[in-house]
């Protein structure tokens, strides 16, 4: 809101109807009774199998669907199950016990793929190794549910002739009657508290979004921003503080200063527009997915405003009936470690086709051991799917076979790139906002 010097009418910020849909990611009633992860895999298999079973008749109607135990050699059939990718380079907790204990930590390569990786399909009755050139292990990960068509060989493997992924979920129609431009701004990886954080650069972003920067034209653009989403890693608390040891008084400042600094910036933002803040891997939140909302007491200033919303990771919300789903990056980063794709957007596409936000959870990505649900299953395809804390800004408009349209956004780390992303709700067009303090 700003008065121009000529006394014209004040600019008012546009509004959008917001609905927070994080309920399924909030850990409320769940009690840990010592269960393991077999239940979440069972729920995932059951749900995805019923989805696939409705698609199989259209795919290959004449073939029978078997269980793994019911396979007969040479008989052509379809089996549905969870994929397990055997990777010899994947670090295993058991390796730490078999080798000598050394002071040198285990080496962490970027990527654990090797040419020896192979896929195994598993259902409640058993598991079978998948053979054949159709399924390239580099494109798959443990934890996704697919249907495969083929037959059992004499070696006891299943030779795959074709496979079926669930594909994009059905999408609720996006309202097409909006005539005005409304923008959603995304930023991630602020990393307040590190040397990489440039306060002037972030202040420029804050001033632009709140309308304190620029002439009337620029303020007019800013007044159309209806929502800001901060997708994780807003602060960086050194991981040494997470070890559970008491913090020495001289180190107290290192712990609280970043939080306080972030709160000052956030208070400026929430005074101007609705802000959703999500936790990331470096924020003071729990490690396993779904990460729970950052506690209000961390933000003494900002939490006084009703525009401040602390969200889960993953985050699901609706703005003017446009569905948004996004994460702070852990799901895609984990896919990058265990599989191959030409860019991060392709990983995002795959998660939508597999109808699961984080298929590698709980195998290699920390996850709560749910007993009666798998909250990462995608039942309805979102209109906007965003992932934070990536190397660079990338975007693509994905079209599905059933007229689904999804805007995929990879949000770069702001502390490294100075780039935020703007999305137009009217037409799902996306552009980058770049801030630089280099003169």
């Amino acid at each position: 809101m700003a008065d121009s010097e000529m006394g014209e009418a004040t600019l008012e910020r546009k509004l959008a109807v917001y609905r927070n849909l994080d309920e399924r990611f909030v850990i409320r009633e769940e009690k840990y009774k010592g269960q393991q992860f077999s239940h979440i895999y069972f729920m995932r298999l059951h749900h995805m199998r019923s989805q696939l079973q409705s698609l199989i008749p259209k795919w290959k109607p004449h073939l029978p669907v078997n269980t793994v135990l019911g396979l007969e050699e040479g008989k052509e059939c379809i089996i549905v199950g969870t994929l397990y990718k055997h990777m010899k380079l994947k670090p295993s907790i058991l390796d730490e016990y078999s080798k000598e204990r050394s002071a040198i930590p285990l080496v962490k390569p970027h990527n654990f793929m090797s040419t020896d990786d192979h896929l195994i399909l598993e259902d409640e009755s058993g598991r079978v190794k998948l053979a054949g050139p159709m399924l390239a292990p580099s494109a798959f990960v443990t934890g996704i549910v697919i249907a495969v068509h083929g037959k059992e060989t004499s070696e006891g493997d299943f030779f795959v002739e074709d496979f079926l992924e669930a594909g994009l979920a059905p999408q609720v129609d996006r309202p097409l009657d909006s005539r005005e431009d409304k923008f959603v701004a995304f930023v991630s990886g602020l990393s307040v508290g590190t040397n990489a954080f440039n306060p002037l650069q972030f202040q420029l972003l804050v001033d632009h979004v709140t309308g304190h920067l620029g002439d009337e034209n620029e303020q007019r653009i800013s007044s159309k921003i209806v929502q800001l989403v901060i997708a994780g890693n807003s602060m960086h608390i050194s991981h040494g503080f997470f070890s559970g040891q008491t913090v020495a008084p001289k180190d107290h400042a290192k712990l609280t200063e970043p939080i306080r600094e972030l709160d000052i910036f956030l208070t400026q933002l929430v005074a101007a527009l609705p802000v959703d803040i999500m936790p990331g891997c470096n924020d003071p939140a729990n490690y396993s997915l779904p990460q729970q909302p950052l506690h209000r007491c961390l933000f003494a200033g900002a939490s006084a405003y009703n525009t401040f919303v602390s969200c889960t990771n993953p985050h699901h919300f609706e703005l003017d009936n446009v569905q948004f789903v996004g994460t702070s990056g852990q799901n895609i980063d984990d896919l990058y470690k265990y599989s191959d794709a030409k860019d991060k957007i392709e990983f995002m596409e795959r998660t939508l086709r597999w109808r699961h936000l984080a298929p590698t959870a709980p195998n290699t990505l920390g996850c709560y051991p749910y007993v009666d649900k798998d909250p990462f299953l995608i039942e309805s395809c979102p209109h906007v799917y965003f992932v934070g804390n990536q190397e660079k800004y990338e975007t693509r408009l994905l079209q599905g076979p059933d007229k689904q349209l999804v805007r995929l956004i990879s949000i770069p780390r702001f502390c490294e790139t100075g780039v935020a992303v703007m999305l137009n709700l009217r037409n799902l067009e996306c552009h980058a906002l770049s801030f630089s303090t280099n003169l």
Partner: protein, 135 residues
């Protein structure tokens, strides 16, 4: 090493001639009893094929342990793979979950569990699955 009677050296049977039946029918502690199931892992298996699953030390198959038909029905429910894994979930919770998923679990199992909850001689171990504390 003496070259004597090897078979006598390694006892084939327990000294007291077979396994004695336990005095109480508590099912919650670790004991090497054999358990009789009809069906076992029920995917694809015939429904009433008696298969002794475990054998005791001593080489003899144990006599039928003292648990009633109710416990038998509950164990059958535990072992049925259709309703998912049984470890780490209470029996009643697993039944409710199966019902919510539309799998139509047998209603008499629920009646037994609810009946136990309200009965005065409720044995809490019946609410936990078969493998509770053993795995």
């Amino acid at each position: 090493m003496s070259s004597g009677d090897i078979k006598g050296f390694y006892r084939q049977k327990k000294k007291n001639g077979g396994v004695t039946k336990p005095s109480s029918s508590s099912s919650s502690s670790k004991k090497s009893k054999s358990k009789h199931y009809t069906g076992g892992a029920s995917v694809g298996a015939p429904s009433a094929a008696p298969t002794p699953a475990l054998v005791t030390r001593g080489g003899a198959i144990d006599l039928k342990e003292e648990y009633g038909d109710e416990e038998e029905a509950l164990r059958q429910f535990d072992m049925d793979m259709k309703y998912g894994p049984c470890i780490g979930v209470g029996r009643l919770e697993r039944w409710e979950r199966a019902a919510a998923m539309g799998l139509h679990p047998p209603p008499h199992v629920r009646e037994v569990l609810v009946g136990l909850a309200s009965g005065s001689t409720a044995c809490s171990s019946k609410f936990k699955c078969l493998w509770e504390g053993l795995v």
